[in-house]
């Protein structure tokens, strides 16, 4: 059993929640870009979620989870001091940072939670970090202060303009790239984009003509997270890769987004159906 040491909602709309979990075996080696798999209880499914932070001395790992399907909605009802049955990792490869000098990190929605530790670590290593964070509207914005502290330049934007700039992350990424050219500043030597698959696809389109290497973090359907099920197959550069062990980071200009988008929706019907059946009496808690 793994104890929830801290629980805190990160935005006004309570769509994204932070959980700090006591898991010394995971905290020992966790790095930005990796993920863990958690399971609520005996009947629970294994759900992958990115590492948002860790404290090696305390032996805790932080995750930031958006309530989307049945399991994540139920996780949101778990309280500080409660226990969840499983928390395993770290899984996947850490985000590559070696040799980078100037990076633009782009987060979309809950993707900012995954992008944050990457930006933070890069910033601590002295890499010049521009962070572009995009959200639908002001009520779901997260990590305002943290992102400011983890970047040299921060651009926050919302689709409806209720917080920060109005517009999509793609627009601001292009603007920053163009500004680097116009002002004769060094260009980004890498763009790291994390968010909805469709956003990452369009961001890849933005950087492609400039030849800027762009890394995205994928979160496909998987069961075990150790290379066993092969459910997380993605096509990268014409080859089949397993996101759990070969990734989750991949070169955006080589990922077959068409196949990725289709695979992500495979269990949509089952998930929608399952989410409908969360107990109304207990509010999602399985055992009263």
């Amino acid at each position: 059993m793994y104890k929830v040491v801290t629980k805190r909602f990160l935005n006004d709309a309570h769509t994204i929640c932070l959980f700090e979990i006591e898991a010394p075996l995971v905290a020992r080696h966790a790095q930005a870009g990796q993920f863990v798999i958690f399971r609520l209880d005996e009947q629970g499914e294994r759900v992958p979620v990115s590492v948002a932070g860790y404290d090696r001395e305390k032996g805790t790992v932080t995750v930031m989870v958006q309530a989307a399907g049945r399991t994540t909605k139920m996780l949101h009802t778990v309280e500080q001091g409660d226990f969840i049955s499983d928390f395993v990792g770290p899984l996947g490869k850490a985000t590559e940072m070696e040799g980078l000098k100037k990076v633009c990190v782009v987060g979309g929605g809950v993707g900012c939670a995954i992008a944050y530790p990457i930006a933070k670590e890069m910033h601590e290593r002295g890499i010049d970090v521009t962070f572009i964070g995009g959200f639908r509207s002001a009520d779901i914005v997260i990590l305002k202060e943290e992102l400011k502290a983890a970047s040299d330049k921060l651009i926050m934007c919302t689709d409806d303009g209720t917080y920060g700039e109005k517009g999509f992350t793609t627009v601001f990424l292009k603007q920053e790239i163009e500004a680097n050219i116009a002002e004769g500043k060094p260009q980004f030597d890498r763009v790291i984009a994390i968010g909805p698959d469709i956003m990452m696809k369009f961001l890849a389109d933005v950087t492609r003509p400039y030849g800027i290497k762009t890394i995205i973090s994928l979160d496909p359907i998987m069961v075990d997270g150790t290379g066993m099920c092969g459910g997380c197959r993605v096509i990268v550069g014409g080859e089949t890769k397993f996101a759990c062990v070969d990734g989750p980071d991949f070169d955006a200009h080589e990922v077959d987004f068409d196949s990725l988008l289709k695979r992500a929706a495979f269990y949509k019907d089952e998930q929608d159906e399952a989410a409908k059946h969360i107990c109304n009496i207990t509010g999602g808690k399985r055992h009263g």
Binding site: R28, D86, P90, T226, M228, V245, R263
Partner: protein
């Protein structure tokens, strides 16, 4: 006086039509009367060959003699003196290729039902209310780490504990048992049986740490730094192989591992568990080994109207156990033999619509003596299915390979180890599928046993 009937007592089974709709165990087990009658078929040979056919050297004629006398607990003690998992072995060992293949009674007629008797003895013990707790030997102070709680790891851990070692198993999954829990289906090996066998080991003092992925959470080097004196790697062969044919990433193509893990480990077939699974209708399984049979029978139980086994060779070459093939046939699994897949077709949304097969003819025998399939040109046809399950084997998981120095590996990615499990690195031993690639439960158990013996010798040699 020995029972000279030529045939084994038949195994009582659930009716095929009924069982194809549930996940309850297929084989029901002998009654005490059947077991005693079967045990009396053993001639108690002076020089018993059956034992030489058993990778864990079960004292077969001795335990059978006790069954014949109705002394079932005594029989259990004899079996468990060399075998830590008798209820598992009695169910999933290919006895026809091992102990039973050496039985004198098999020369004229059928061999003694050794596997069925082993299962009976184990089940009989398990169902006893007042059974004594297994003894926990005092620790000799030497700490040994075992990686993986599958058949190799459990056997190695059990044997070492019996010798007095302080043993800790590290398991990546939330449940212990490895392939016994994620791979072999409930209807062939009930998970309650596996849990009970593992509970026996923990009562003996074996420690198990779940959710610990060696190579990720902890490395082998760290295990030594943490004070373990030897490490046994029994991490299995978890990496699914694919065919590398067009369409393999379409929606509705699964590895057998994914299907089996969802149903067996995650219990997706039960309404009260959250892991989703698709409702199947027409399913093609590629491959014809035991795992392919398991996958096909799981798909049938999940409600598929048609389940096809597609295999490039013929019936005589089927690699699965005869018993598994017969069970599958009885449950209505359809065999499309001498058919090799060359592509998977899909619709605009990327969902599978069919698998393209080429008919095969058998040509000259290959180096293993198996006749080689040769494609009949222009014979391509499409079998309409919405689900394709790839069950053509697995290879060792690279996690340990990528994070452990000092080991050497085979061309297929297995750890190089000798028959005793000794690897190129001092203090590191390995066995089971992690060494051989996918094989059987009992061979892995044999390797776990050999590893335990080598570890004991190694620790003693260090003084």
């Amino acid at each position: 006086m020995a029972n000279m009937r030529m045939t084994k007592n038949e195994m009582p089974e659930q009716d095929p039509i009924v069982r194809a709709g549930n996940f309850e165990e297929v084989a029901l087990g002998y009654t005490a009367e059947m077991a005693i009658d079967e045990a009396k078929r053993c001639l108690n040979c002076k020089n018993p060959q059956c034992r030489t056919g058993c990778p864990v050297s079960v004292r077969i004629p001795e335990f059978i003699a006790k069954v014949a006398e109705g002394e079932f607990e005594a029989a259990y003690d004899i079996v468990t003196s060399t075998n830590s998992l008798p209820a598992v072995c009695g169910r999933v060992c290919p006895q026809e290729k091992q102990c039973e293949s050496k039985c004198v009674r098999g020369i004229k007629g059928e061999s003694v039902g050794i596997g069925r008797l082993e299962r009976f003895v184990a089940d009989c013990h398990m169902s006893k209310a007042d059974k004594p707790e297994p003894e926990a030997p005092a620790s000799n102070g030497h700490r040994i780490a075992v990686i993986g709680s599958g058949p190799a790891g459990l056997t190695c851990a059990g044997d070492l504990r019996k010798m007095g070692y302080d043993v800790t198993i590290f398991e990546a999954f939330h449940k212990s048992g490895g392939v016994l829990v994620y791979g072999i289906p409930q209807f062939r090996l009930p998970k309650e049986i596996v849990a009970a066998e593992i509970a026996n080991l923990t009562k003996m003092g074996v420690k198990i740490v779940n959710n610990a992925i060696i190579g990720k959470s902890i490395t082998v080097d760290e295990l030594f730094a943490d004070g373990f004196e030897a490490v046994f790697i029994g991490s299995g062969a978890g990496l699914p192989q694919f065919l590398h044919i067009p369409g393999e990433n379409l929606l509705g193509v699964y590895s057998a591992n994914e299907l089996l893990t969802r149903t067996n480990l995650m219990k997706a077939y039960r309404d009260d568990y959250d892991t989703p699974i698709k409702r199947f209708h027409r399913v093609a399984v590629v491959g014809a080994g035991n795992v392919a049979m398991d996958a096909a029978r799981v798909a049938k139980r999940l409600g598929a109207e048609h389940v096809y086994i597609t295999y490039r060779r013929g019936k005589d070459e089927l690699p699965a156990r005869k018993e598994e093939v017969e069970h599958a046939e009885a449950e209505g699994i359809e065999f499309e033999l001498l058919n090799n897949p060359c592509a998977i077709h899909g619709d605009e949304e990327g969902r599978v619509t069919g698998i393209e097969l080429i008919r095969q003819e058998l040509g000259e025998p290959d180096e293993k003596g198996r006749r080689k399939p040769v494609a009949v040109e222009g014979s391509n046809w499409i079998l309409e299915v919405e689900t394709v399950i790839i069950a053509i084997g697995t290879s060792p998981n690279p996690l340990i390979r990528n994070t452990t120095g000092g080991l050497t590996f085979t061309r297929k990615g297995g750890i190089e180890a000798d028959e005793g499990g000794v690897t190129a690195r001092e203090g590191v031993f390995a066995g089971g599928d992690a060494v051989t690639g996918s094989a059987t439960v009992i061979l892995a158990m044999g390797a776990g046993k050999a590893g335990a013996k080598s570890i004991d010798e190694y620790i003693k040699s260090k003084g």
